[in-house]
Symmetry: C2
Subunit: 191 residues, 2 copies
DNA sequence: TTCATCATGTAATGAGTTACATGATTTG
DNA sequence: CAAATCATGTAACTCATTACATGATGAA
């Protein structure tokens, strides 16, 4: 039940509405860590209220409700953060990389090429994000935690890009090896 | 519906029983890309048979059924591999890293320290795996695709480790900054 | 003969997505 | 006043996990 803990984590920062939380998933979490849509978030917040992990701390226009984390919620979050239960990862993106061998060499190269391009784009994007964070940051202020996540994203995209480049090199090597062998055999036969 | 494609990808390599497939998830896929348990796999294989994506190519002892991928299955797999539908990633592990700011500085350091240790252990393990693959590989044979996945794993664990080390350095910097500021203020007041 | 592993399944429950549905407020 | 955005919710469906359940085969 990670949605619950993701919500607690976001609310630990500051009280927010379901709508706010939904946005924050879209903006950062859903790309690298966890996704949730509003239709899942709203009911969960209700359940969490019933369980005493969060509470409505204010109501605003358009029937909006601002939720805040409770003491119990904070305790529950901390407990979860330190409880290592090796949970399954899901990433279709990586799954594809693990299934590459199902493709023929041409398709494989095309797909890995796409990974290089994706990685490149990601690196460019995150570099900008980081630059923005750093110019906005004022010295002496509380450490910008968004910087940590952004750095993670940057390194992740670099990994993608560099691994894919390496993979193409490997395929080249193997193919070159084969060509060389074939020529060697041919020469031997001829000579 | 990625389980379906994961199964197709594994069967593209060679025909296997549900049991075999279950093992392969446990061994490599579930750690980096996708998890599935047997109770999910067996019914899915049945559905896939009904849909003509796989077929029973042999029956063995203990009522075991060996499944093979069909032509339609191969086509479906290829189609899926090239169809980029940005799918949501789920990783509790990374989620925790994104929610770090919910912890106090002490807890934060402890948790990041754990990440360093995990990364270190992963690097050691994958290095061994790679060594084994490379000594087993015989030149001229078909390229060892497991090597690509293992390299990905290695780089992933390195990323974890190095990011975590960097993060601790950042926290140190911020804290040092604060101490310096505090001393400066104190000195100013005194002088 | 006992234990580990092979081998497959179902049922109940929980988690998550997509589609449906509504309406207020702000900005241009 | 129109469009975008804010804001919340429910219902039907699919996907996935946990628990339950059984039995064969091979190795020690």
């Amino acid at each position: 039940m990670s949605l619950r803990h993701a919500l607690l984590g976001l609310l630990a920062d500051r009280p927010q509405t379901g709508y706010d939380l939904s946005k924050r998933f879209e903006q950062s979490l859903s790309r690298y860590a966890w996704h949730a849509s509003h239709s899942h978030i709203y009911p969960e917040l209700k359940k969490m209220t019933a369980d005493g992990l969060v509470e409505v701390v204010g109501e605003g226009a358009r029937g909006s409700k601002t939720y805040g984390i409770t003491e119990r919620g904070t305790a529950e979050l901390r407990e979860w953060m330190f409880t290592r239960k090796d949970t399954p990862v899901r990433s279709e993106y990586i799954l594809r990389l693990f299934l590459l061998s199902a493709l023929d060499t041409g398709d494989m190269r095309t797909l890995i090429g796409d990974v290089v391009a994706d990685g490149e784009a990601g690196v460019a994007e995150l570099s900008q994000v980081i630059e923005r964070i750093e110019t906005d940051a004022r010295p002496g202020e509380k450490p910008p935690f968004a910087r940590l996540a952004a750095e993670f994203g940057l390194r992740w995209h670099r990994l993608q890009r560099d691994w894919a480049r390496w993979a193409i090199d490997e395929l080249d090597k193997v193919e070159h090896q084969r060509t060389t062998d074939k020529n060697a055999r041919r020469t031997r036969r001829r000579g």
